[in-house]
Symmetry: C2
Subunit: 358 residues, 2 copies
């Protein structure tokens, strides 16, 4: 078991050894550790190897000049300069929050970025400012539009964080597919089949094989097939792609560069890197913040008091499971899978960083 | 068959006879006719009876003082003063567009409103200004959160309109449930069962009975049950409810007043009327509009050229089916169901308006 602080320092040191400034390395480390704490290890320490290999392949700029390339009082386009996604994303969300302070809301579309970890982290940055935070990103193309077998979209998540008063904040962070990519990988490793409705084979036939993506298959959009409303999930994934990439000048859909070094970047890029979209809305640009937060308490309590179907758990308020996990791991420490710890050991040995597997 | 112009004048005259100003009556009429033209008659002329009956029950203010009650350079809260939803919504979207002209984006949350017809109409108002238009609304509670049997949310639609260059605009307009409420009603009238995954009975058991809502059943969120990602649809419907109602001070979820006069308004209101949310984002607040629109063409063409699964149609670009329908009906005229025409005849007789069933 590792303390959050230990993993933060380890991660920051690794990125510093790769050439990042101390400030940037710490920015990135926060997001990696937040993913572990919130129970999303698929976006945590396991991803350090991907960044390490991208760096060795000269596909990551560790001294990026992250800058605003266009702006109005309420908007900006940020260029991440091929740096680590967590750094471009943190700076982009900071920009959105500053804009919101001035004119009520702030909206930033970001290009030239890379995989940024958990979307929820950036949306939650707005909370301490009594703002609603919004965050989206496009991602490696694995998802087919309704009726199609072409992989044109990523799992394109959306995160929205909304402050409350006595209740904890509402923090939704969800992919626009029935399940996240990582859950397919877990089922595959366990040798289990998955539910029909998550993936299809290369000809569009329903499949329950979690490894079907390796054989030309694709993931379905949220809702599944057309009859079950999958075209609505297709709309959502498309909106995320357009806001993140067409508004910013990043690569959209099928052109998104892979977040792993063993897959090549396409020659026919249509923009710069991966794209994200960030929003911050000041609560008091609409309502006195105190009034709004008390009404959010009432909203949350109404949903907590909903009647459950027999045998089902209580309604889950978005953000509750991740917060419970964070409280638990802050006390107990974070376990790292042996295979991930072994990879980290190899990386830290190469970079001459101290790391002992526990 | 009726020409769009005939139905526009008829609708405007009906609302004028109910006491609306000519300007307001024409604003509302545009949205009713747009629903018919876009192939969504469930939100068109069939709804005039609902408004007529709400007016007779003194639940609609035909001389509303629609006003901005709070604002910043980029945001506003609009109070619809219990008027017709289409009027409050049109004015709210106009406000969002004006704000966007000044600071890049404009965001309006609206309270004290009523059913506003098709969300897509308002999002499309942004297109002629080279803006992206966004529109959401809450609605009568028919939908249960994941794991629950309590009807706490509406079908809460989201519409997003995005301009392109040579390609027609991208116009997504979708409920956050697997199917719209109106489709259940159609299946019920035809005596057909529906697919499992749309509705559940009062105890949360899967049901294929489209009339189950009358027996305490509820609709599921987009995605269906938890295993299929229904909690993501729950997140979306919740976000729409909070942006539309908690930000504006309208009634959220279970407190939304019924859009029909035969259902009573709850005594325990938590806000004013129904709530909506509107956004306008100037394209050139992010990119030169011409560059963006050419890239949108490329995005749309990429999706048009996707490979279809054998036996499946081509990928449907959001907005294409509605636009094709509009082009067809502009030429051929609009058919009104005999039962709807009969209701309109009764209303027009009572209001002494000329109307001949064709």
């Amino acid at each position: 078991m590792y303390s959050p602080d230990y993993l933060h320092k380890l991660t920051a040191t690794i990125f510093e050894k790769m050439g990042c400034s101390s400030e940037d390395a710490n920015r990135a480390a926060k997001v990696f550790v937040a993913a572990e704490l919130r129970g999303l290890p698929s976006h945590g320490m396991i991803r350090i190897k991907d960044y390490f290999q991208l760096w060795k392949a000269n596909r990551i700029n560790v001294q990026p000049n992250i800058r605003i390339v266009h702006e109005t009082p309420g908007t900006a386009v940020v260029d991440g300069d091929s740096g680590i996604g967590m750094i471009a994303a943190t700076k982009s969300m900071e920009t959105a929050i500053e804009k919101a302070k001035n004119v009520g809301t702030g909206w930033v579309s970001t290009r030239g970025s890379n995989h940024y970890g958990i979307a929820g982290y950036y949306s939650m940055m707005a909370l301490e400012h009594d703002m609603i935070g919004i965050c989206m990103t496009n991602a490696n193309p694995l998802v087919a539009p309704t009726f199609s077998v072409s992989r044109l979209l990523g799992t394109n998540p959306v995160a929205v964080a909304i402050p409350a008063d006595k209740q904890p904040p509402f923090v939704a962070d969800f992919s626009t597919t029935p399940i996240a990519r990582g859950k397919l990988a877990v089922s595959e490793k366990k040798g289990e089949k998955v539910r029909f409705g998550y993936v299809q084979d290369k000809d569009g036939n329903p499949s329950n094989d979690p490894a079907i993506l390796k054989e030309g298959g694709s993931m379905l959009t949220l809702g599944g097939d057309f009859e079950s409303g999958g075209h609505k999930g297709y709309c959502m994934a498309s909106i995320v792609d357009i806001f993140s990439a067409v508004l910013s000048g990043a690569n959209f859909g099928p052109f998104v560069p892979p977040s792993v070094a063993y897959l090549p970047v396409r020659d026919d890029q249509v923009g710069e890197g991966t794209g994200h979209f960030f929003g911050a809305m000041r609560i008091d640009a609409f309502q006195p913040a105190g009034d709004f937060k008390m009404q959010m308490d009432k909203w949350i309590e109404t949903h907590r008091n909903a009647k459950s179907a027999p045998g089902k758990p209580n309604v889950v308020i978005p953000g509750d499971p991740e917060r419970a996990q964070e409280e638990k791991l802050q006390k107990e420490g974070i376990a790292i899978l042996p295979a991930v710890a072994k990879e980290l050991k190899e990386i830290t040995d190469e970079l001459r960083v101290d790391f002992d597997i526990r």
